[in-house]
Symmetry: C2
């Protein structure tokens, strides 16, 4: 953080520091976006690298803080809310079976390979399970943003990846519960995990089916309150509420936000709500992308062993998502199956969250943490480039 330029008051710096951080992060993200657009490269990669630039890796102007983490979280929440607004339940159902295959295979394979790799390196079982869970995570945020950028967010392949990401996150909830249970003293509590799983599935099914039906029948519901000059605020409240509930039951907040968007999309006035949500969608997501870059600490990666480990884990991470994604979606044809396979690769923020939990539980050390963050960023950087190339060839 930059020090206050003048410090006449001992106390004014709190607000000033936070507002300055928010300003710097937004500027860095949009500067990266600008440069990458000008050289014809994916904008979100530019935003992430903007975060790397001002973060501890290079300039050190901005550090990880609770406030930035919340803005990052709201960034991915509004990103997936936006994606949900573009998605119909019927379209999701059409890809349901393939998404289920891709999602579950794409969790089980990297999880097992991650554990095996960890054990082969001589790590403890607990640490290896965390490595597996970090490899199993998929970031719906990064891939969705890339699809939006390429104008193929409503394509069958994009919907398949999104559906697979939802399946993925429900399964990841179980894996992470197992991992935390093993690391904590108490051990794994199967009944508790089954309960959590039941609640998660019931939540997704109830909201997706009940919520869309409710708003199909009463499309004016969001405009009923008098405080709502427009349907925006009720829709945003729904989004925040479902995101918070998702997080409360152990799912990613973005799942609730995605479902909220899908429900709101059923109202007749969907196009007006899109116009109104657009500014929130323009404001928050850059914090999400830049924050990924701010979390990187290049310093602890710059030694031969760490780099070798990073390379190996990144290759494993890419392969164990690409192969099941491609094979699971093979029925859609080679081109679309490739898009699905590559779309599953980014670990984004989810891999970093899993690693942070492992670090908090004391089973992931500083070097492995830096390696997982590095892997999350590298897999995140691969997909936009590859998808861009593929979508040019296939469309």
């Amino acid at each position: 953080m930059i020090d206050a330029l003048v410090l006449p008051l001992a106390s004014a710096s709190d607000t000033a520091g936070i507002l300055t951080d928010l300003f710097l992060v937004l500027v860095a993200a949009k500067l990266g976006d600008e440069v990458f657009k000008r050289i014809g490269q994916p904008a979100i990669v530019g935003e992430i690298l903007g975060g790397v630039l001002i973060g501890p890796s290079v300039l050190g102007w901005v550090e990880v803080s609770e406030v930035l983490r919340v803005f990052s979280e709201l960034g991915v929440v509004f990103l997936l809310f936006w994606v949900g607004l573009e998605t119909r339940l019927s379209e999701m159902r059409a890809v349901g079976r393939i998404a289920l295959t891709v999602g579950s295979a794409g969790v089980v394979l990297p999880f097992l390979v991650g554990i095996g790799f960890g054990l082969a390196l001589g790590e403890s079982t607990e640490t290896s399970v965390f490595l597996g869970a970090a490899l199993a995570a998929t970031s719906a945020g990064i891939t969705s943003a890339t699809f939006l950028d390429l104008g193929i967010a409503r394509s069958r392949a994009a919907r398949t990846v999104l559906g697979a990401a939802v399946v993925d996150d429900i399964l990841a909830l179980i894996l992470l519960s197992v991992a935390v249970g093993m690391a904590a003293e108490g051990g794994v509590d199967a009944a508790k995990i089954a309960l959590a799983l039941g609640i998660a599935i019931a939540f997704v099914a109830f909201v997706a089916l009940g919520g869309t039906r409710l708003l199909q029948r009463r499309p004016k519901l969001l405009q009923a309150p008098r405080f709502a000059d427009s349907p925006l605020l009720p829709a945003v409240i729904l989004c925040l509420g479902l995101a918070a509930f998702s997080a409360q039951i152990g799912l990613a907040a973005l799942i609730g936000a995605f479902l909220a968007g899908m429900i709101v999309a059923e109202t007749k006035d969907q196009s007006s709500i899109e116009a109104e949500v657009r500014p929130l969608y323009a404001f928050f997501p850059p914090f999400f992308f830049a924050f990924i870059g701010i979390e990187l600490d290049l310093g602890s990666l710059l030694n031969g062993d760490a780099l070798l480990l990073l390379a190996a884990i990144t290759v494993l991470a890419a392969a164990t998502k690409l192969v099941p994604g491609y094979l699971g979606a093979r029925r859609l044809g080679k081109a679309e199956a490739s898009i699905v396979g590559i779309g599953m690769i980014p670990r984004g923020e989810v891999g970093i969250v899993v690693a942070s939990i492992g670090a908090a539980e004391g089973v992931v050390d500083a070097e492995l943490f830096a390696v997982v963050v590095g892997m999350s960023i590298l897999t995140t950087l691969i997909a936009p480039f590859a998808l861009r190339r593929l979508s040019r060839v296939s469309t």
Copy 2:
């Protein structure tokens, strides 16, 4: 904060708790808004009382936290940015002299009366100076929101109050520097205070004059970057940047935001930017109003002495702003002078901030803090009711 409903994971609760807080605050604010609109009363009072309801005073569901404070700060930043978008520099100049009189008289009188009252109560000089500074503060946020609500935000009286609030804040910067200097060991550093004052005045003048001229000459400037599909993000970046800079030099962040709005208003495409900023203006300000209510702790006010003190200080606070405001604006006629006088009464968040700084410096004790917060809220509640009545009579 509500506990996680289910806690399968030890670690998922962080994000969940914060998202839940944001959800609860937004719901409480808009529920208060809804109820007050239905009974024909000022919506922002409803939003503040919504905050009181879920805050420690009643239900205790939400506590003061750093994240909520930042959202509250952004609430008032986007509120004043919005007000700035509705304001032209030429209009501000037209009321300049009256605003200067109202602003300076409205700081000096309550400051001196506050010190006198504190000394009469037997408080120390340091404590009395803080009480004076808390009484001297004006909240441009509350009054502006009320003017917007009543549809008189562009009236001469409204612009006078706004101009006076800017003058007020620059003077309050000096008073607060003096108060902090006296409370700290080092004593008052006149040279440092003069420097801070010079920087503050130079900043406001340079931005207001130079900024508007620049965008008058190059109205397409905000659309130049490629990341800007619309002028929204560059304008928001400008708003955050000037707000952060304002806070860095010891002014209220909202002054920078107001100036940013006024500059952006000079671009030709002002109406499109207003449509785009509206969702941010709908989303953030409720956090500002509700947060004022959350900061109230009714518990420490519920004894005879505290209530008596609260009543006395509130009457002094109202009178010492009303009288100089009315007299200073007397030239505008009785009706407008009354609006100006009443418009200056709300202390809102500024009184609370001053009291917090005093508490941090150890010269404002818990009871006096609660009294100042109570006074800030009561003066804040008076104005919307009174202005509503007045504007009905006079228009």
